[in-house]
């Protein structure tokens, strides 16, 4: 059957359906890709999917470094806080208060009286 030109694009499934009155015509798109192109496309799609998976999988490791930084910041800040608390305790301690200039200006009362209401 080599004397006719292919006009319409169709594939014949005659060989698969030898019984009569079977519709053996299917229409095929005009864009044809060879098998290698198919393989390449499939490989690309798999890679893209793999990269999407990777995007989520490797997020965790970079968070590790961020959390390490934040941890050390927290440690520094709580160190500062305890240092301030110690300073506060020192400044409000009895010795400091007794020796402060405010205390020097206080006088001890000579007598205390209570008034009943």
């Amino acid at each position: 059957m080599s004397y006719y030109q292919r006009t319409a694009e169709f594939t014949s499934r005659r060989q698969q359906n030898w019984s009569r009155n079977q519709n053996t015509v299917a229409f095929v798109s005009s864009v044809k890709l060879g098998p290698v192109a198919h393989t390449v496309l499939v490989a690309l799609m798999i890679t893209v999917l793999g990269l999407i998976y990777l995007t989520q999988a490797t997020r965790a490791t970079s968070y590790d470094y961020q959390s390490q930084k934040i941890d050390s910041q927290i440690a520094d800040l709580s160190n500062q806080k305890t240092d301030l608390e110690i300073e506060n305790a020192r400044l409000t301690s009895l010795e400091t208060v007794k020796n402060s200039s405010v205390a020097a200006n206080l006088k001890a009362p000579s007598s205390t009286q209570y008034v009943s209401q």
Binding site: G34, P35, V36, T39, V40, A43, L44, T47, G50, L51, Y53, L54, A57, T58, A60, T61, S62, Y65
Partner: protein, 435 residues
């Protein structure tokens, strides 16, 4: 006549034809797309690896040098190299190969010149040359990245020697001492001078030697002379090792066996490469879970990437990757085998030797059966120059694969009796591809 005999006869027949006619006698056909497939798969796997371990490499560098690499810096760079390599591949695939084979000599001279330039700028301590430990191997082109002139030299040697040796083989003078071997030895010696002595890059030297030896083997050198050549190469190699003390160190640490000492740099790298591979098991620890890449294994993204892949993908993954490399190499052999022009055959043989040497040296040093040579794994390692040149070489072979000659195995073509449909298979239509 058997099929093989027919083939040999046709090749010998064409060899006796004048050389200038050779390129015109074979009709162009569809090239071997499987080369693209294998190369592409390898490049994509490399990209995936760099995406996974890039952030860790950036962190290691940031912590130790205070630099400021972002997490995607290495991935972006590798993607750019990938695109450049594909561009180089495409360029070499469409540029007529005669352009390249005709100017083999000029390419060689450019190679030598660039190496000499590097050496001079290195002596003069200009900033364009990137030097470490007294040896300058790179041109630092600032924003454009870096360029390794040794790769240009390798490419130039490959093209030139393929042409030169091809001519000699066609003249049946391959075994001749004066015509063939001595000029070859001179070129090799000069190239080795630049690469091994001035740049102190033993790994690249071994790769160059294996390119030349492969070409000699395919060129049909006689067994006796071949043995002498190989023997001489080994002796020279040992000589180079003895001259350089750091190479002796590497040999001694290698022969100390399965040590896991962490004192000197080479044994540290081998030890950690083996730890990385060993922890992989059957299927590896998974992408992104590689711990060795977080800074324990030096050169995790270029030289040692095979070990990291071992940790990430496990035994099955490594077998698959080795399989891809073997498939690519076999494809090259097939192309080489079916090329008629001896010079083109030798080009294919050279590329085979190049790729094969890199893969074998890198993998062998990673698994501890050969000392470290600092050679990169083609297409998978991070590094633009190496990938671009390998892609260019593969592009050239891709183009050459259009000119292969295949005998048809169809019964109809070999004049066998095809009245029975046995062995004929499906009907073949014009336009449908055959493989």
């Amino acid at each position: 006549m058997s099929r093989g005999g027919q083939q040999v006869a046709s090749i010998m027949g064409t060899l006796s034809a004048p050389l200038s006619v050779l390129s015109g006698t074979v009709r162009r056909h569809r090239p071997d797309y499987m080369i693209i497939l294998y190369m592409g798969l390898l490049m994509l796997i490399g990209l995936v690896m760099i995406y996974a371990i890039g952030p860790q490499r950036a962190n290691v560098l940031n912590n130790s040098y205070g630099s400021n690499y972002s997490d995607t810096y290495f991935f972006v760079k590798q993607a750019v190299s990938l695109l450049l390599s594909l561009g180089a591949f495409a360029l070499m695939a469409v540029l007529p190969y005669t352009l390249i084979t005709k100017h083999g000599g000029k390419l060689l001279l450019i190679g030598f010149a660039s190496c000499a330039l590097l050496a001079i700028t290195g002596w003069a301590h200009l900033s364009i040359a990137q030097c470490s430990l007294g040896a300058c191997r790179w041109f630092d082109l600032g924003g454009l990245g870096s360029l390794q002139p040794a790769e240009i030299l390798k490419f130039g040697v490959l093209i030139f020697v393929a042409g030169f040796l091809g001519t000699k083989v066609a003249q049946r003078k391959v075994n001749d001492l004066h015509e063939t071997l001595i000029p070859l030895a001179v070129i090799t010696a000069l190239a080795m001078l630049f690469i091994v002595v001035i740049e102190k890059d033993m790994g690249t030297g071994i790769a160059l030697a294996s390119i030349i030896v492969t070409m000699l083997i395919v060129g049909g050198i006689s067994k006796k002379i071949g043995a002498i050549v190989v023997g001489a190469a080994v002796i020279v190699g040992i000589g180079f090792i003895i001259i350089a003390p750091h190479r002796i160190d590497r040999i001694t640490t290698f022969f100390q066996g399965d040590n896991t000492s962490t004192t000197d740099a080479a044994s540290y790298q081998i030890a950690h490469a083996k730890i990385a591979i060993g922890t992989g098991g059957w299927t590896g620890v998974g992408i992104g879970n590689s711990v060795q890449a977080t800074g324990y294994l030096p050169e995790a993204i270029n030289d040692s990437v095979f070990a990291i892949m071992g940790e990430t993908f496990g035994f099955l993954g490594l077998v698959a990757i080795l399989g891809l490399f073997v498939a690519l190499l076999m494809r090259l052999l097939k192309v080489m085998d079916h090329l008629i022009d001896i010079r083109l055959k030798l080009i294919a043989a050279g590329v085979f030797g190049w790729l094969g040497a890199h893969v074998i040296l890198n993998v062998a040093s990673m698994i501890g059966i050969f000392p470290l040579t600092g050679i990169t794994l083609p297409l998978l390692s991070f590094g633009g120059t190496s990938m671009i040149f390998i892609a260019a070489a593969l592009g050239l072979i891709f183009q050459l694969s259009r000119y292969t000659v295949h005998t048809s195995r169809l019964k109809e073509a070999t004049n066998e009796n095809s009245s029975s449909r046995r062995g004929i298979g499906r009907p073949r239509y014009a336009g449908r591809s055959s493989s």
